[in-house]
Point group: C2
Chain length 212, copies 2
DNA sequence: GTCTATACTCTGATAGAC
DNA sequence: GTCTATCAGAGTATAGAC
């Protein structure tokens, strides 16, 4: 019985198991997010985790299983900010608050952002189900909320789904293209702080309904 | 003497050499853009090019050389739209025209966009020089143009470099995250056509200087 | 110029000692 | 639970026949 197959077990994982599993996932996040699934190697991950390769494979049955565990854990975190958008709130404030939360995710979890970007770039072979399932459903729901706000004249007229795309694109760019952003900005800049201000202005101007 | 080492040669490459080199680069673009440098294999590339692996390595000395050739060719194309931004033109029209050209690149060359994205995601190990050289210089130059427009009151006040980031993020998103975009939009949508209209509105509202 | 054959290394995964 | 040893297959690259 390996640590990975915990479902239905009565025993709790030991402290060592928790520690090693966590170390593996931390190391795997680092390596997968930089090289993609196929470009990453178990040797790299095991090294970074301070374990031998067979020992890593004692905790997870395969490379695929490590990757899948990371992606599954990621998706919930990634959708939470959108889920928190409140239909009963003030429209413009809700959107801008969503943008801020999403940008904070990019700043605090850039490797998770790149892991996700890598997976989508490669055609989302291991996550397409989640995208066409949970994500699409949540987007449909929230797009309806935005369209209702627009119909009520409380938000400028924009295509709701493309508005969401623009939020994702703009916030994730600062994580995924971090190297490029920091190369172009000079050293004394704080990309994420500046992005926060800029995106606040951008979505304010885009979405503020024209006074009647 | 291989076809790759053409510098200084008197002989022109034969038709067969041209054809095979082109086939290799086309195949390599397909594979590298989907799997990244390390995830791509020469077997895949040779197969897609209709050549044997040793034959591929007759035209290029290494996997790295194929990749580098692609990146070098890409960078010029990628910077052209920004280069074409005319300091003497009407500011808002110039920016919106740049956005349109960049979006057209994403639509017509999505694999090139993903190749670039993959490289940046991985920390730009093979292209950092170009980014901190040519790209940074061009951005510095064009940022100055934008800042001058703003100082003259012909464009709303925005941080120039973040404006450029937002153009890149928004246009490239439709190429790089194509799978996700098409999964979320229903089948009868044309993502790039809709994006064109949306981005036109977005940058219009963001940049139109308030009437004095 | 192109192919077959192959050298040599890396990679994911397993066996079995401790 | 962890290690050494090892396997089978895939990976980049080269040698040499034609």
């Amino acid at each position: 019985m390996t640590a990975y197959q915990l479902d239905g077990m009565i025993k709790q994982p030991t402290r060592i198991q928790q520690k090693n599993t966590a170390a593996i996932l931390e190391a795997a996040l680092q390596v997968f997010s930089q090289h993609g699934f196929r470009g990453a190697t178990l040797d790299q991950i095991a090294d970074a985790a301070g374990l031998s390769k067979p020992n890593l494979l004692y905790y997870f049955p395969s490379k695929e299983a490590v990757h899948k565990t990371l992606l599954d854990g990621l998706l919930k975190t990634w959708l939470d900010p959108l889920r928190a958008m409140n239909p009963a709130g003030e429209p413009l404030a809700e959107i801008k608050s969503y943008v801020r939360r999403k940008l904070k995710l990019s700043r605090d979890f850039p490797r998770e952002s790149r892991l996700f970007a890598n997976e989508i770039l490669q055609g989302a072979p291991r996550i397409l189900d989640a995208i066409s399932g949970d994500l699409k459903q949540l987007v449909d729901e929230k797009a309806a909320v935005i369209e209702a706000w627009i119909a009520q004249g409380r938000l400028a007229r924009v295509p709701a789904r493309h508005l969401l795309f623009s939020i994702w694109a703009l916030t994730q760019h600062y994580a995924d293209f971090d190297v490029q952003v920091r190369t172009i900005l000079d050293k004394d800049h704080d990309p994420f702080a500046e992005a926060g201000d800029f995106l606040d202005v951008l979505f304010d101007r885009l979405l503020r309904a024209a006074p009647i």
